[in-house]
């Protein structure tokens, strides 16, 4: 009180003005600006370019009237001709067709393959259930371009599986690594865990009492399974299928390495248009198509799951009687092992190759060596460092943004932010990359080719996952704790930093590791956007694979896998015994 009188009125007016600025509101605008600049604007630009066929510099129009004039002229010449050519047949059309066929095929196969698995995990006393469950998450850990490398080692012209096949007296190749078949196989066997766990949940949730009623009425177990359990789980299964569709449709790692020349897939096509030919029109049309398809399926999935509540589904529902028939559990056990064989062999092949002196035609390499690892550590130390720095940068951005977004969404019901921050879920990596390159390749915000833009792209792409993680802990923090801080004199921002932030730590930590891991695995954005002096590990593997330096590629790939496994298990530990 007494201090006020010592200050001159001018000073105190300034101070009052400074104090009246609500720092939290400023943060909110900063978050909005971030999403606008790095998500909405690139998508709008790409959308416009798909009509004009020429770059549209929206930011430039704001600062420079000349650019504005050019843009207006270009926009006035906008036409649907590019879209017409898309639908009129030709390469784009076939690329879309092929990608849709691939994604649909993969989803159907995954579901068929997962039904027995999900039943086994949800409803039986299958032996070694825990171990098998852990093994079933491993395929998710491996970036698809590394699985693709494994497939080349197995099913390449001189791959050991094909060699084995020929030595058994067959002609030709069992499977050609560079074919649609092998792309389908990789996606099926490496993406199935995405569908498996939701399906397990669906099988658990299916109403047990109905089943019992059915059994009481004399129905046989198998008929109960077919007519009661299965139909009840159908919404969950469809939702899983849609998820697989989106994942397969936007997967870049597999097709970019394995797609043969004759096979057009939309992600590969888009990549070539932008990085090979700088074809703005083509790339942006493909981008819009990719986003549109992903959006439709994402929306469908949400629509189907809107009434489903898996929230409390952690344990067995009450009164579940697990199927313990020996015949059933043992055959399911064998089945699960068979499913796991292919992905394990692929990973194993990469591992063997990373230790091989040379591995030509033959079941096994000539000899074993640690040389490739030495090479990786001496020559590619920079790449490792780059990966860590880029992932770290993306991490910092997503921690800050995600914390604030969760705060605004949970405390202030800012649903606009909630919606905006979930948009990246429907933007395939390659599409986001193309949109960025187009939007930021000229002044005033010329960022294309900088590490900063790459970091922002990583952060935006993984934001929904980070937010899901922080939002959960945010909801668990009662608002009166924060009010207590404000009541004790802290401004809202200080309250968030000193009280809310520390309490959110478990969620932030788990989310951070997830972001870190996925950034290290990230392929599409990396390949498209990484500047050469900032090449991360994944780009290194990718380029080495293309150049035929397969041994160092394998060594580096193993390093990535090891890093991912370590970080992921730390994250799992953390979410299990959260700090408070």
């Amino acid at each position: 009180m007494s201090k006020g009188t010592e200050q001159s009125p001018k000073q105190s007016r300034l101070k009052n003005w400074l104090l009246s600025i609500d720092s939290l509101k400023i943060m909110k605008w900063v978050v909005y600006l971030f999403f606008f600049l790095f998500l909405v604007l690139p998508l709008i630009s790409v959308f416009l370019v798909s009509f004009t066929g020429q770059p549209v510099n929206l930011l430039g129009s704001l600062v420079n009237p000349d650019i504005m004039a050019t843009n207006i002229e270009r926009l006035s010449n906008a036409s649907l001709e590019h879209y017409a050519s898309l639908l009129g047949g030709g390469t784009y059309f076939s690329a879309l067709q092929n990608s849709l066929a691939l994604a649909i095929g993969v989803s159907i196969l995954v579901i068929i393959m997962c039904i027995p698995l999900a039943y086994a995990f949800a409803r039986t006393t299958m032996p070694f259930k825990k171990t098998l469950a852990a093994l079933c998450t491993i395929p998710l850990i491996v970036p698809t371009f590394i699985s693709a490398a494994g497939f080349i080692i197995m099913f390449g012209r001189t791959g050991w599986v094909n060699t084995l096949y020929q030595s058994l007296g067959f002609d030709g190749l069992l499977i050609n690594a560079y074919s649609m078949t092998s792309i389908v196989l990789i996606q099926v066997f490496f993406f199935f865990p995405f569908a498996l766990w939701p399906m397990v949940a669906a099988f658990k949730i299916a109403d047990i009492s109905l089943e019992e009623a059915s059994n009481n009425m004399g129905a046989k177990n198998w008929s109960t399974m077919v007519f009661i359990t299965f139909p009840l789980a159908i919404p969950g299964i469809i939702s899983a299928a849609l998820l697989i569709f989106t994942v397969s449709f936007s997967d870049f790692g597999t097709p970019i390495i394995l797609a043969p020349d004759g096979l057009n897939l939309i992600v590969v096509e888009a990549y070539r248009e932008i990085s090979g030919f700088f074809n703005w029109a083509g790339a942006s049309i493909l981008t819009i198509v990719m986003v549109a398809v992903a959006a439709i399926f994402f929306w469908l999935q949400r629509f189907i799951t809107r009434n489903m509540d898996y929230g409390t589904l952690s344990g067995k529902p009450k009164g579940t009687k697990l199927n313990d028939s020996k015949v059933v559990t043992r055959s399911l056990f064998v089945y699960t092992c068979i499913v796991l064989v292919l992905p394990m062999l692929a990973i194993f092949s990469v591992m063997i190759q990373s230790f091989a002196t040379t591995w030509g035609t033959g079941l096994l390499p000539r000899g074993f060596t640690m040389d490739h690892y030495t090479t990786v550590f001496t020559r590619s130390g920079d790449n490792i460092m780059n990966s860590l720095l880029l992932a770290g940068g993306a991490l910092i951005i997503s921690v800050i943004v995600a914390t604030l977004v969760s705060y605004f969404v949970v405390r202030e019901n800012t649903s606009k932010l909630d919606f905006m921050s979930s948009i990246p879920l429907i933007v395939p990596g390659i599409a986001l990359g193309i949109a960025y390159i187009q939007t930021f390749n000229t002044a005033p915000l010329q960022l294309t080719g900088t590490a900063f833009l790459l970091i922002v792209a990583y952060a935006i792409r993984r934001m929904p996952y980070m937010i899901r993680s922080t939002m959960g802990t945010m909801m668990a923090i009662k608002s009166d704790i924060e009010e207590a801080a404000v009541n004790l004199g802290a401004s809202k921002l200080v309250a968030i930093i000193t009280v809310v932030g520390p309490l959110m730590l478990p969620g932030i930590a788990a989310g951070s590791i997830l972001v870190f891991v996925t950034v290290i695995k990230e392929t599409s954005i990396t390949v498209l956007m990484a500047p050469s002096d900032w090449a991360p590990m994944s780009l290194m593997v990718f380029q080495n694979l293309l150049r035929g330096e397969v041994y160092t590629a394998s060594a580096m790939a193993m390093l990535i896998i090891a890093l991912v496994i370590i970080l992921q298990s730390i994250a799992n530990k953390m979410t299990k015994n959260s700090l408070y």
């Binding site: 207590a484 009541n487 004199g489 401004s491 000193t498 408070y580």
Partner: protein, 375 residues
């Protein structure tokens, strides 16, 4: 320290109106209780005073100054939350020191502020000043928790947590202390001790205090003044005794003590102004209440009812009643009797020579005229 005034406070939510023009006038150093049933707007009133809600209209004054536009963090209201809202990542000392540390964060040179900030992030990153240490320990001594300063707050009992919350609010020397049902999470015995503690501290510090509760006993036993709320309005403001002996309407009467209310008609007035009322068409009662009204509500407090026995006689206000249940409670006996069509509970002290009534007995009871209130 300061007085608190609330003028015509209205708070509307999208669908509901929580406050419909609340007026409060609380003098400096007073202990004021806000009493009312659930949902009547007590918390909302308090949150408007603390600055967590923006009133739709009306004014809040603290120490004669309108504070409507002052943000919550600069109102200097110490608040004790119903859930205590302790910071789980800080220990007892850090919890209590929070407001002082925050004060440091907003004052001093850049370097000092940076240090303070570091200390807020983790206690290992800096030491609190002597002054803070002293103040915190003083506050903790007040609530008799000095020995637990280094404990984590989750390692405390409910009562201890409650006292930490109180110390945390007191240490900032607030102009007003706001407490929202602070005792509702404690068991009955602890609640009684805490009542005494809180009242004693309030008296020692002479701190203006607003205490929200829906427990009339709590309000009546602790506060200097009680404001009874209903549906977003203050129904009556008075001292506990006044409230009890002179409730303004049946709602208040019912709320501040168990009582029996009959419909009645004033049929005559005595020379001194006392009223004669007719209850249930046939019972005539005298009351010391002076009133102009014809139709009244007749309030009889159970403590006012005396059982007539051992030949004791009265010439007025004697009624017949039937014993329904008699319960022996040790030092007292409780009779549930039917009195003029209503179930009433009467308690009587037990003495060796007391005549005991049993179920079904018809007894005579006397209602002293000053215990019959007309509203």
């Amino acid at each position: 320290m300061g007085s608190v005034k609330v003028k015509n406070l209205v708070k509307k939510y999208d669908k509901a109106t929580a406050l419909k023009g609340v007026n409060l006038d609380i003098k400096e150093g007073e202990f004021y209780a806000l009493l009312g049933p659930s949902g009547c707007g007590k918390t909302t009133t308090m949150r408007c005073i603390a600055g967590f809600e923006n009133p739709t209209s009306g004014e809040v004054l603290i120490g004669e100054k309108v504070v409507n536009s002052v943000p919550a963090n600069r109102r200097n209201c110490g608040m004790v939350f119903q859930s205590y809202a302790l910071f789980p990542h800080y220990n007892v000392f850090e919890n209590v020191a929070y407001s002082l540390t925050i004060r440091d964060l907003y004052n001093g040179s850049f370097g000092q502020r940076a240090k303070t900030f570091a200390r807020l992030i983790h206690k290992k990153l800096g030491k609190p000043s002597k002054e803070i240490q002293e103040k915190v320990h003083d506050a903790l001594k007040y609530v008799e928790l000095d020995h637990l300063a280094d404990r984590g707050v989750n390692e405390l009992s409910g009562g201890q947590q409650q006292r930490v919350a109180l110390a945390r609010a007191l240490v900032m020397e607030p102009s007003v202390l706001l407490m929202d049902e602070p005792l509702s999470n404690l068991d009955k015995k602890l609640r009684n001790t805490m009542r005494t503690t809180i009242r004693k501290i309030q008296q020692d510090l002479k701190i203006t205090t607003i205490f929200v509760t829906h427990d009339q006993e709590e309000a009546m036993s602790m506060a200097d003044h009680v404001a009874v709320m209903r549906d977003g309005e203050i129904v009556q403001m008075a001292t506990p005794t006044e409230l009890y002996s002179n409730p303004k309407d049946p709602f208040v009467a019912d709320f501040v003590g168990s009582s029996n209310i009959y419909q009645g008609k004033v049929v005559d007035r005595k020379e001194n102004g006392d009223s004669i009322v007719k209850v249930n068409d046939n019972t005539i009662l005298e009351s010391t209440t002076h009133t102009d009204k014809e139709d009244v509500e007749v309030l009889v407090r159970p403590e006012g009812i005396e059982i007539l026995k051992n030949g004791r006689m009265e010439d007025h206000n004697v009624l017949e009643a039937t014993v329904k249940i008699s319960t022996y409670l040790g030092p007292t006996i409780r009779y549930d009797i039917e009195l003029a069509g209503m179930e009433v509970m009467v308690e009587e002290e037990f003495q060796p020579n007391t005549t005991l009534f049993k179920e079904g007995d018809v007894i005579k009871v006397f209602l002293p005229a000053e215990r019959v209130l007309l509203i």
